[in-house]
Amino acid sequence: MKMLINVAETVIADALRGMAAAHPELTVDVENRVIVRRDAPVAGKVGLVSGGGSGHEPLHGGFVGPGMLSAACPGEVFTSPVPDQMVRAAAAVDSGAGVLFIVKNYTGDVLNFDMAQELAEDEGIRVAKVLVNDDVAVTDSLYTAGRRGTGATLFVEKIAGAAAEEGRPLERVEALARQVNESSRSFGVALAPCTTPAKGSPTFELPPGELELGVGIHGEPGRERRAMMTSREIADFSVDAILEDLDPRDPVLVLVNGMGATPLLELYGFNAEVQRVLGERGVPVARTLVGNYVTSLDMAGASVTLCRVDEELLRLWDAPVSTAGLRWGM
């Protein structure tokens, strides 16, 4: 597999140096792997820190900036960052108003953020934590690690980020983040596997004529494998899988997210089918976002995330944001 890299060992550091050069509004600590908005800590504002394995760009580093995250900690590819990074990020963004950790529900992320919370609190930083677990493809039972955090992470980071920007206290920002997670569900499909720089070959096998329904953002398998389906059929399957689990009383935010290697042309076509099913199922759509936001390296495929919103969540979604990956209203 050809990749636009020098060597696998320096992929993260190289990307961080490039990010620093492109975004003078960010402070990028390449050695310690922390991306912080340059004006942090903002007086009186709750700090928002997230992080996770690399390979999901623009998540999380691309969502650092006014109206969204205060800092992000990139780990190795598909490997959670270490507590040292999170504590450093928390210290950099804490104005005294406390820090919210936004954590995708994977065993490694949960363990490292738990340790970081303990260490940061030892340093006198008030820390709250919200777990994102929106992926309906996984059975949430005692016999699994629980539902995975995927597309809803973007909604949580955007809406909690807007609330923090307005100067809301830590308890309120945490409650809103939790509400967004509880109101969100996702379902993803893979058409072709991804390749990590370290391995250099696909991380899983997927025969040319098949797709994986319910794939995770590291190429982990989901519900089942089937013969390749049309965009219309995939939209029906994905939206119905979500609606089995999410009572659509309120209008929804829709994220049609590309996994990395699927062109926008296909994503927009897929979005047309997603909107059609939602219409058929009587689900009102408040806003729609289409693009590559929570990716899985060069995996081909897409995911759908729906988030039920009330007036307050919608207002916070529409609030100005200025990051490398998401920007409007300012």
């Binding site: 959670s80 490694g108 363990l111 370290a198 899983f204 190429g219 989901g222």
Partner: protein
């Protein structure tokens, strides 16, 4: 009696074993994980040997506590906190004695394994590193060689199990038929312990 030098040899032997077996660990991690267990542990234990050389702690507890902290700071993922906690808590249980006996080590390791089970929420039979560590600690009273054999057997016995923790649990029944990479690296850790003891 076992001194700080013995524990340093244990860590060095583990680093060498991880180096030697990295590709196998990563290969085991491909079908039921995300193909990075070997490279993650390699990064961690390379950092462990470097810091032990630099700071040269002079007690068994000091060596393991420092090694554990270093793993937590350099590995990431689930294996960093889990292996880090295993060594750190074992080291703390050994206290500040300049030398410890095998029974003290067995008892301390049990404290470490308990901490791993509590942190990860795993029990024996969940297809995790616990499946190699628990039988190894049970056998340590007998000999280091017995602990190594028990860990190897425990790792092998994960093959027919369905994973209930970690990333492999997403596979459900599809995780059956694959040996657990975490149990396999735990067997390497116990083999390195026997090697340090000359058994």
């Amino acid at each position: 009696m076992l001194d700080a030098d013995f524990f340093r040899r244990w860590m060095t032997a583990t680093a060498a074993a991880v180096e030697r077996e990295a590709e196998r660990l990563t290969a085991l991690d491909s079908p039921i994980g995300d193909a990075d267990h070997g490279s993650n542990l390699q990064r961690g234990f390379t950092a462990v040997t470097a810091i032990l050389e630099k700071e040269a702690p002079d007690t068994p507890g000091g060596v393991l506590t420092l090694a554990g902290r270093q793993l937590i700071s350099t590995v990431g993922g689930a294996s960093g906190p889990l292996y880090g906690t295993l060594l750190r808590r074992t080291g703390k249980a050994l206290g500040e004695a300049p030398e410890v006996g095998v029974p003290e080590l067995a008892e301390a390791l049990r404290t470490g394994v308990d901490a791993v089970m509590q942190l990860g929420g795993a029990a024996p039979g969940d297809k995790t590193m616990v499946d190699a560590l628990v039988p190894a600690v049970d056998a340590l009273g007998e000999s280091f060689a017995a602990a190594r054999a028990a860990a190897e057997e425990g790792a092998g016995a994960t093959t027919p199990l369905q994973a209930r923790k970690g990333r492999a649990s997403y596979l459900g029944e599809r995780s059956i038929g694959h040996q657990d990479p975490g149990a396999t690296s735990s067997a390497l850790l116990m083999a390195a312990l026997a090697e340090a003891a000359g058994e």
